[in-house]
């Protein structure tokens, strides 16, 4: 515990400096104080904590990451309620995020359709910690696509939080691409509320970082909406990726689809924990969940736990998880076309991952990811 304390003391110095330098409204200052206090008390989630039992962040949080002490001021008066709603007491990371949060606000005005994707990216420098906190508000009847990218070129610590509000009859497509450098440490939390008759489609790609953790929580707060919460993690070397997801049906007649796929090579390791809640009054719920994993090496490992918790009878739900190798029949087909075994395996692996990547409707991002996946598999597919 003494080691733990030392780390928090380091952040305390940074926190005090940041608080001094910033000219922020009182509510925000005190909210940050509160969050920091929580962090000081609880520390990082290391040791015996159920939600973190397969993911050991200890070596990463023990490192010294420098924190920017200059806080850029942004006007948050219109989004104060949303910021206050952020569940910073989720864990030490979310608390620390709010304490140091650098806010970015994206508002899609009422009844506005934005064709061009809105792209935001975050790049941490060598040995720095960054704390982006993005607020995305899709107002009533609006339509937009957000691309959120994390691409630190060096060994950095990204501790991100994103709050999304999908208004009534709004449609939001949300791509989250985590392609940090192979040495990076990445923790992110996404909180989404989905309003009436709206559509939220998220695709979460995790191919970077030495260790990454993403918590995503999507909550239906009004009836008649649909959400996709899909993802791909593709890992090699000793990469570790952990996804914890919650899809919460608190109201009737909503549909959720979850399709997460994993490709694990070498000694990599992945965790998928997906909870779907169907609350007592959430009749007419349709919830589908799937997590399929492809292990390319005997030393790779995945811990998957899809969970359905249903408190209503009038629902249609399914869930399942698989962990396996490539299908022998599929491999045989490619071999009989004269493709060497290695190439055949890699093409099928690419095909497996492609089911998620092809969802990405922004051509440049899709091509970039295709290339990243093909490069990793050492396949050349020219058109």
């Amino acid at each position: 515990m003494t080691v733990e304390l030392a780390k928090e003391v380091i952040y305390l110095k940074d926190f005090k400096k940041a608080q001094e330098s910033a000219n922020e409204p009182a509510w925000l200052r005190s909210l940050r104080e509160e969050a920091f206090e929580y962090f000081t008390e609880k520390g990082f989630p290391v040791g015996k904590i159920e939600d973190w039992k397969y993911t050991n962040v200890a070596p990463f949080v023990a490192e010294r990451w420098s924190v920017s002490r200059d806080r850029t001021y942004s006007d948050l008066e219109n989004v104060a309620a949303l910021v206050k709603r952020f569940n910073f007491s989720r864990n030490g990371f979310t608390a620390l995020n709010l304490a140091f949060a650098e806010f970015v606000t994206i508002t899609i005005p009422k009844e506005t359709k934005i064709e061009e994707p809105i792209e935001i990216s975050f790049l941490g420098e060598e040995h720095t910690a960054i704390f982006p906190h993005v607020l995305i508000i899709a107002e009533e009847g609006s339509k937009a696509t957000i691309v959120e990218t994390y691409a630190s070129p060096a060994k950095s610590f990204t501790n991100a939080a994103v709050q999304v509000v999908v208004g009534d009859n709004a449609s939001l497509t949300h791509y989250r691409v985590q392609k940090e450098s192979a040495e990076a440490f990445h923790v992110g939390t996404t909180e989404v509320t989905v309003g009436r008759g709206s559509h939220y489609d998220s695709t979460n790609i995790n191919i970077g970082a030495a260790l990454s953790r993403h918590d995503i929580e999507v909550k239906f707060t009004e009836e008649g909406s649909e959400a996709f919460v899909d993802g791909l993690y593709m890992l090699n070397g000793t990469q570790h990726s952990d996804t914890h997801s919650i899809i919460d049906h608190t109201v009737p007649n909503c549909t959720s689809h979850q399709n997460y796929k994993g490709v694990l090579n070498d000694r990599s390791r992945a965790v998928f924990n997906g909870k779907v809640f169907v609350r007592e009054n959430a009749h007419g719920t349709d919830a589908q969940q799937s997590n399929k994993n492809l292990l390319l090496s005997n030393d790779a490992r995945v811990d998957t736990k899809p969970q359905l918790e249903i408190f209503n009878d009038d629902v249609k739900c399914s869930h399942g998880a698989t962990v396996g190798q490539l299908e022998e029949e599929e491999l045989f087909y490619l071999l009989t076309r004269g493709l060497p075994e290695n190439l055949a395996r890699n093409l099928l692996t690419y095909g497996f991952a492609e089911e998620i990547i092809r969802k990405i409707g922004v051509e440049s991002i899709k091509l970039d990811l295709d290339e990243a996946v093909l490069n990793r598999l050492k396949v050349k597919l020219e058109v």
Partner: protein, 251 residues
């Protein structure tokens, strides 16, 4: 002789299915292997193509003077053995033209011949697609993904056209095809038939043989060839049914 199967015993999961099969196939010939379900037709196709789940217990398969059984499935393919699948596999994200070019170039490389770049290959592919009346729109689509049963089979024949095998094994290619698709597939095979290659049609029904006339018909029952003849044997079989062959062999 292009292919010589001698006293082949083979099976799967420890169960012997082929029980002493003999077959000789030469260039320029079309052979039909017919038989009821469970007779070993499919096992023969899989063993020739090199499916890893099937084990050869004894016997020989000589292809162009070499022991075919020693070669891996991909080596067999590059040496000119092709099998059209009953249930072709889908490969998402890899377009038909990319896939075919990879396969084509692997074969070229193997034979020390020049590989084609995407532009050159697409011209080549367009020519070949005429064989099965395939719309070039299919080149861009992922291999077999979302294809109807008929389109998948046409795609198999397109692959055959591109890879120009010396020995093509068509495993139940007629199954699940409507009459139009069957005609297109059969005409494709007829166009590819030449004095330089041999085709083995593995089929349960005589229907396909109305379109592709075989030089030889072999009837398989209980892991052995029990009757052989010309194309008229297929017709006789259709009329009398497989029970006729079984009873004729005292089975």
């Amino acid at each position: 002789m292009l292919l010589e199967v001698k006293d082949l015993h083979a099976g799967i999961d420890g169960k012997e299915i082929l029980k002493g099969l003999n077959l000789r196939v030469d260039k320029g010939e079309v052979h039909a292997i017919m038989g009821p379900n469970g007779s070993g037709k499919s096992t023969l196709s899989k063993v020739l193509a090199g499916h890893p789940s099937y084990e050869v217990i004894s016997g020989e398969v000589i292809y162009e003077g070499r022991n075919l059984l020693e070669l891996e499935p991909d080596e067999r393919a590059r040496e000119g053995v092709f099998m059209a699948f009953q249930y072709p596999v889908e490969v998402p994200g890899v377009s038909n033209s990319q896939f075919l070019r990879l396969a084509y170039n692997e074969k070229m490389k193997h034979h020390g011949q020049e590989e084609l770049d995407p532009l050159e290959f697409n011209d080549h592919l367009k020519e070949k697609a005429k064989v099965v009346e395939m719309d070039p729109a299919f080149f861009k689509r992922s291999v077999n993904e979302g294809f109807s049963g008929g389109e998948k089979k046409r795609n198999e024949i397109l692959q055959m056209a591109v890879l120009e095998p010396k020995l093509a094994i068509l495993d139940e290619t007629d199954s699940g095809l409507d009459i139009d698709a069957l005609r297109i597939v059969a005409e494709g095979v007829n166009k590819l038939r030449s004095s330089e290659n041999a085709i083995i049609l593995v089929t349960h029904y005589q229907r396909l043989l109305n379109y592709i006339t075989p030089d030889f018909v072999h009837v398989l029952a209980n892991g052995r060839i029990v009757k052989e003849g010309g194309k008229e044997l297929a017709i006789e079989l259709e009329e009398k049914g497989y029970d006729w062959v079984k009873s004729a062999t005292g089975k």
